[in-house]
Amino acid sequence: MDDRGGRKSLGELLPGQSGHIYGVNTADKRVRRRIVDMGITPGTEVTVVKVAPMGDPIEIALRGYSLSLRQEDALQITLMRGGEKDALQKQQRQALAEYERRSHSQLGHERDTDAEGHRRAALLTEAFTSASSACSRVDRMEECDVCAHKIDPGAENQPVKLALVGNPNCGKTTLFNAMTGGHEYVGNWPGVTVEKKEGRVKQPNRGAVGKNAICTHGHDMTLVDLPGIYSLSPHSMEEIIARRFIVDEKPDAIINIVDGTNLERNLYLTVQLMELERPMIVALNMMDEVEKNGDCIDVNRLSLELGVPVIPISARTGMGVDELAVQAQKLIHAIHTQFHEGFNIEPDDLYDDFTHMAHHRIGKLVESYAKAAGLPLHWTQIKLLESDQLIKESLGLPPEVERQVEAVVAEYAAASPLGDNESMVADSRYRYVGRVCALALKRARKQGEASRSNRIDTLLTHKFLALPIFFGIMMLIFGLTFSSLGAFLSDWVSEAIGSFIIPYMRETMMASGAFSWLTGLVCDGILTGVGGVLTFLPQIAILFFCLSLLEDSGYMSRIAFIMDKPMRRFGLSGKSFIPLLMGFGCTVPATMGARTMDNEKDKRMTILLLPFMSCSAKLPVYGLIAGAFFAKGRALVIFSLYAIGILLGILSGLLFKKRLFPGEDAPFVIELPPYRVPTARNTFTHVWERVHHFLQKAGTIIFAMSVVLWFLQSFDPRLALVEDASKSILGLLGGLIAPLFRPQGFGSWQAAVALLTGLIAKEAVVSSLAMFYGFSLSAESGAVATALSGTFTPRSAYAFLIFVLLYVPCAAAVSTMQRELQSAKWTAFAVFWQVAVAYVISFVAYMLLGPFLP
């Protein structure tokens, strides 16, 4: 307490209590920067909303949004004493009054000292926000053939590239989809987009404009959806990807998407983007929610204060999206017609005088180096003031200049009680944003007052009810997918394929005089193999429908909040829970999703543990075997497999934490988005994409595997047709590795080969078994069990399921792991670990089940 000067810390506040931030004392610079970037700067009012069910982390409300951070980090954030708060507020009021006095000449106030800069910003803003429907202010205008807007013919057909930049979970991908007609994945949790995506805005037909179609007036317009970022600090992969794209590839304009319900925190990024000296337009998203909340944003005032066009939109409903495209084109036309030479829309009041002075001193030292490196000068100066290592490296400063820059930075840092240059710059930006919001935003609700999301959270993150509700939801999803509706629909599909399609095809081909081997290939190879996988299509659709609801509603982030403490026990953070949960869908995107981890240790741990989360491709195998041998307790058997996977993931995590990744835990700073009603369109898109993916796989690689396996199973090494499959090429090959699985009770060549085919795609295990044992897809579970009984007993079947659950994921997943881990050593370790655990645990299960199962 001594170094805090008797001040309380944020971690000492109880739910419902508020305080004003004095300083962030966290020793780890990266953690401190992340906390400051999220808006925890001196003077900010914070309210503790709740404590997670297990006592950690806590949820706080600040700047109109909710943030979750750990107790140990909260204890490092000191709060102001009463007198300090009053003095600061007085100082802020004076600053605001001063700012008002020096405001834009447009508003009838006195001119600022940098009057030229303001005049240009005001002119530009007025030009874009005026009611004129013309695309630019040139004389030679023609009507667009499609939408009848006035356009500049000289600017037509010039390809343009627009970058979509914004905070995580602010609606970038929704807008991207709305403008390009794309189907990119959207979710209500931060970190959905991990890499940039490009899409072309298509020129619609005349009649389609205004009906979810945007006129590009003949432009070849490309949109680039960048990962969500909170700032342009180089502390995460997403931030580096986004800023490199803007600085190096210089898009024609930036569309900065700002979440209107979370204006302050979003504008923090906006002011940083302004410094990049690219033409910019602000898309003020979620305006429908702003209205619903009773808040009011003065869009014109916001536009004038920022000096950039601001267009209110709702990407979810499509409101204002076409207007945004028109305004973006105006902006580009303006550039093309040299409307505004030396384009720089940085508002002059962005930084306090002291920061301003410091960064200009740096500017004098590095101007020529920044020009040579092709970096925006103003941004370079500020980044050097923030000690940005990547910028320092790009500039290649001589040692003498670098020493002078460091001296300025040290002087700047020493001038404040915060003693930290990065925090001071962030604080300066937030103060500017605070002034803009004070003028343009009126909130209907005070901070800490219960919103709809808070009311839902009182139940879903309740101290005692949160975990039972979470497990209840999981059980419901499993029940729906594997037992009731899913099982009914799967039976129906298998009946259709096994009782109608295959017999009909066999009869037709035989009646038409087809060769018997070709009939066998089509009916016993392709249709049985592909059909065996398609049977599980309804279950996959239901599983993804449920996961989509969890993601879109905002419950996913709450799961991270609830699970952070238990996850820390085995060296992970609550953030890892989201990719791990995605791993139940597909390991490949989940592995990529691990990029959102704050440090390399967490990322590696998450990727190593992901294969323990049973992906949906294994579902057909579980469905087949569990249905055959455990018909009555099918859902329970499948649930036990998922539970074993999770348990072994936890145990591996504990071991890795102790042996491979000892050391400090990564920080946990996560935004809790408001609950939203999932849209039918997004849910449908999500489910369709997965179903499409599944069908695509069935129609390509499963098809090919079925043909290859049929061939290998039907011919001997001399390429003669064989009656007894054990004498076939496959039988001989499988016979070599089959003894390895004798201890587990499934040492037949069929099971061994089925497991090998699973390395290509897990669904192939089912098609292999269906072909090898020749059971009908529409057969009753008893008939499948009889067909498999040559190899499996209920005990060995369960051991087989455990092996399938735990052994190496498919080749594509291993390849993705290699790419994300960037280490052949770690990838090899992951593969070895999975095989070893699968082999040992399936053997242990086989032994332990001896007294209970035949």
Binding site: E195, E198, G513, L518, H693, Q696, I701, A704, S815, R819
Partner: protein, 45 residues
Amino acid sequence: MIWYILAGLILLYTAWCLVRWWKGRKKGCHGGCADCPKRERCGRR
């Protein structure tokens, strides 16, 4: 004759699927493009 053509088509399609999988495997392709962030570089939209 028609049965030879059918067998040939199955063979060609199988070969195409295997080549496609083999190439995609190197890129970390998992069969579908729905959630693949590399799709713009893949040319298989």
